[in-house]
Amino acid sequence: MVLDSVVYGDEKQNRRKARIRFSLVLTMLIIFGLFVVIPFYWMMLTAFKTEAQVLTAPPILWLNPLNWQFSNFATAMDTAPFLRYMGNTVLVSSISTVGTIFTTVFAAFAFARLNFNGRDFLFMILISTMMIPGEIFVITNFLTVVELGWIQNQTYMNAILAMTLPFMTSIFYIFFLRQSFRQIPDELYYAAKVDGTTDLKYLFKIMVPIALPTIITITILNAMGTWNAYIWPRLVTQQQEFRLVSNGLRDAFSNIAGRILYNEQMAAALLVTFPLLVVFLLLKKYIIRGVSRSGIKG
């Protein structure tokens, strides 16, 4: 039929168009992909160069793995106790994550499931504080930590407390968890009530497992937040060895007078970045899904 052949002709043309479009899109993706990857590549490349190689102009853009200078990492570790910093970071991040999940899960349950006087009002207040920049809190929190005696003659314990306690809860996560709790149909709760399930048991046996993806997301976001934390730890730690990776990294390579040893600096940067990249590649699925969800309102 005439109509058929017209459609068929279109089809052929369409396919060619589609192929051209695909190539264009791919080109753009590759260009932007390079933009994203280059800093990582640059960091790694530099981290394996000798000092002479770093100070070659124009720069060497490819290093044979046989010539990699691994000693940069050893030197970087000598410059500052990075393993110690990483240990601190992991500790601070675990404590604050466990604390955050504990407090937010309970609070979100109350907001999502229980009926109490002033619930909506309280929730509104919480939400409205989310817009206030953190710096407003930091000022007083710093004073509070001083008052608590965690700064003067600081012990390791004091430092850990100062770095974790203020971050053991989060309004955003309460909000985020409440959203996923509310997506669980009411009937599940009714069914459990009819069977004599207590609220606490319902929370842990039904709601938490169902909202597990959200809880994993919170864990990831929180851990990543700690890995990136710079300002607060710098404010409240009094000794070098209590600090977290970001501080260690920044301080170790700011204080050297004169020439910066880029290869060591980049080796240290790579040391700090590497664990995150490994964790990311292992948990890629969860992280991408979780982070996307955290950005979706409501």
Partner: protein, 308 residues
């Protein structure tokens, strides 16, 4: 039974969170509002010289770095947010349109999210190195002379340009992921319908994708603005605590940096009040722009359909 109020129980569940929030969120808000009206508050002695309405705000405005900080913050915000939103939108649409290799590119584009801001800031600083950096090498390939981006005595403009590239780079990942998941939630029916009506590609983008994604674009834009007004760690990452290229210290200072500057002087009478005043000024700026933002997008956001 179900409708019964469970007040006691509720407070038990809320207790831990509310306890911490009261100490570390609610009290600080009130305290900041208190500090900002104290004259010459000395926290070491716990004394002050009476109350004042505006004096602490005058300190903020009279700070020699305030104009610079305000300018820098505004430039970072108003350049990096629109650019990164648009690039992220394009990349996510492209990503969504390729089936093969999507997972691979998704991983690539997400990498900047899982890095340490300081570490990558340092890498960027070295990328922009005048003699040994990749950027100048690449400029050389197209016959351009090397530029002193971040080195000794680099101009404010050059340093700011480098910083902006880094800020955009760092803020793409999150936006791309959110947009991509929004795109994947758009009902395929809309596209099929548009195809049947033989709608052109760019029209599909303009008339279907963007409107359906608009609640998400709006939300991301607002939160990005709020985030960008707080720029600080990026500057630290690239330039260290000097907040600028060597020899041009503090040229990239931001408003948040002013807060911490004042906080570092916390022993000096009045410094804490100045910090509080600076933070409140930042809050007011953020608030005004958020409200403007909401007003502007009011008529352009379509809340039905699209991403959940």
């Amino acid at each position: 039974m179900l409708e019964d109020k469970s007040n006691v129980k509720a407070w038990f569940y809320l207790g831990p969170a509310l306890f911490l929030l009261s100490i570390f969120i609610f009290y600080p808000i009130f305290n900041a509002l208190f500090l900002v009206f104290l004259r010459d508050y000395n926290y070491l002695q716990g004394t002050w010289e009476g109350f004042t309405l505006f004096e602490n705000f005058f300190y903020v405005f009279r700070n020699q770095n305030f104009t610079q900080a305000l300018t820098n913050t505004m430039i970072i915000t108003f350049v990096s947010v629109p650019i990164s939103v648009i690039i992220a939108l394009l990349i996510s649409v492209w990503l969504n349109s390729v089936l093969k290799l999507r997972g691979f590119f998704q991983t690539i584009f997400f990498l900047p999210y899982v890095t340490n801001a300081i570490a990558i800031g340092m890498a960027f600083a070295f990328l922009f190195n005048q003699n040994y950096g990749l950027i100048n090498t690449m400029l050389g390939w197209v016959g351009l002379n090397p530029v002193n981006w971040v080195g000794l005595g680099a101009t404010w403009g050059n340093a700011m340009f480098s910083l902006l590239i880094y800020v955009v780079w760092a803020s793409l990942a999150f936006k791309i992921m959110v947009f991509l998941s929004g795109l994947q939630n758009i009902d395929k029916q809309y596209y099929d319908a548009a195809r049947v009506d033989s709608t052109k590609r760019y029209r599909i983008f303009r008339r279907i994708t963007v409107p359906l994604l608009s609640p998400m674009i709006f939300y991301i834009t607002i939160t990005s603005f709020i985030g960008a007004f707080k720029a600080y760690t990026q500057v630290i990452g690239m330039f260290g605590v000097r907040l600028g290229p060597p020899g041009n210290d503090k040229s990239l200072i931001t408003i948040v940096a002013l807060v911490y500057d004042a906080l570092d002087r916390s022993g000096v009478p009045g410094a804490l009040s100045e910090a509080a005043a600076t933070a409140i000024v930042l809050f007011l700026i953020t608030l005004v722009f958020t409200l403007i933002n909401m007003q502007v997008s009011k008529n352009r956001v379509h809340y039905s359909g699209g991403g959940k």
